[in-house]
Assembly symmetry: D2
Homo-oligomer: 154 residues x 4
């Protein structure tokens, strides 16, 4: 028999996740590059984009800057899953290493919170290129976010 | 009387600049975000973009990732101005600090070569937001490029 | 009955590890700060230092620069474990986030190779402060190394 | 005739500079590596160290980590020159590129404030190696500091 009692933790996160999705939907830049949310968990966000010519650099691969935009957002929303309701997120800085050509069927950018302080949150991120069953690590990121208390995200 | 003798240095750079512009025109991502080349000099490249809703983050400013894409390209093309003809440029890594909201009439991203080695080139970059006569520093970048000898850029 | 047949992989790494230890012993700076090698595995290096007043910043914690020196070396030697014999390692660049005061009985810096290319190697590193049984993450690092082929490390 | 009227701006900075020197003198790590303050101005700090075997990496040059420690401190004290009295400075993160072997008669690390916000300060830094009259750029840094209001530096 299935319990009808709801998990209060899941419920609390469902509200938080809706908040993150609403913020994401307002990012014109994520719409422009065609990014979508693949998964949200507390302290974790995965975003994906499908490579296409409009995202390319001069050799046809996805531009390092687009890869950076994707994983910066993944890190930022990983952070936002852990913020209080009445707070917005801004990127203070990030650093990215590009490891392999970004190409294939899909790019998956994952951000995860490593340290959540009261005002600063540090995340790491990875971007993989998926082609059929192959999966290649294409970028590594490390990021600092700031929590803007009293400035609601949406 | 105007001399008809051409400046060989300028001529050499004119060819190099044409090479850079050709590479830039192949970057679908720069077309997508609406970036254009403002200036090219040996070791220097300035790119601009006009803020619009499609480039925004959730609060309406230009997305940190778009700012990063712009200044990554400015740094990369600053580097390419100094490369030999038969070599391509790739970003190894970069780090960016976001200092102020990216908004206004125009974002101007400047990249300049600090150290040009045989295989690695290090650049710095700055992004300013221009609004009327006001000019605000919105981002600082430091970047490592790799020279791909024997792999023509275009 | 114990086999007398040696594991060729282990033997190969033993030689490599001896090479790394020899290089480490030549780093005056590691001697000055009192660092020692805790563990070496292929693609991994752990170094430790005991906090003392000579390593401090102004509030008595271990100086961010000393933490950086330790984890830079851990990443570099993680990389060197994967290099061919006739090659030296140099740090191209690294980025470090400081997350908590570096204090306690021991600082343990771990470096691990994420991507080993022919000429560039990318590592990540973490530093934990150990106090009794408590273990606190104090720093996160991301690093690019260059393989100097034909320039023996020692 | 020389005016005896004091410059109030200089006086104010003299107190601030004394504060910075007092903090610097408490950094055991700067004493250990033999660093000294060469110059302090509002938003600027220059530190120097003389290369010696105790600061070396495996090839005899000054260790990247020592170069990093020096320029991290230069950036931090550049920031502290601009802080209010009742505030301490901590490094949030920094990124450094190593450009050339750190050797010669003296290493000079300069840090300068690029953006001083209320809670975060961003600096850039450069390290030059001086040998006779030659001066070689050996490292580039970009750094984020946090202002700890209400926690006096000394």
């Amino acid at each position: 028999m299935k319990h009808s009692v709801k998990d209060p933790h899941s419920d609390a996160f469902a509200a938080r996740a809706a908040h993150v999705r609403e913020s994401f939907s307002r990012q014109g830049a994520m719409g422009l590059i065609g990014a979508s949310i693949v998964e949200l968990r507390p302290g974790y966000c995965a975003l994906a984009v499908v490579p296409r010519p409009e995202l390319s650099q001069q050799h046809g691969y996805v531009h390092a800057g687009i890869v950076a935009a994707l994983v910066d957002s993944a890190g930022g929303y990983a952070g936002l899953t852990r913020f209080p309701d009445n707070a917005a997120v801004l990127t203070v800085e990030f650093k990215i290493n590009l490891l392999a050509p970004a190409k294939g069927d899909r790019l998956l950018a994952e951000g995860h919170v490593v340290k959540a302080g009261r005002s600063l949150v540090v995340t790491r991120g990875e971007v993989h290129a998926e082609a059929g069953k192959a999966r290649t690590l294409v970028a590594l990121m490390q990021q600092t976010l700031i929590v803007m208390h009293g400035k609601p995200e949406i």
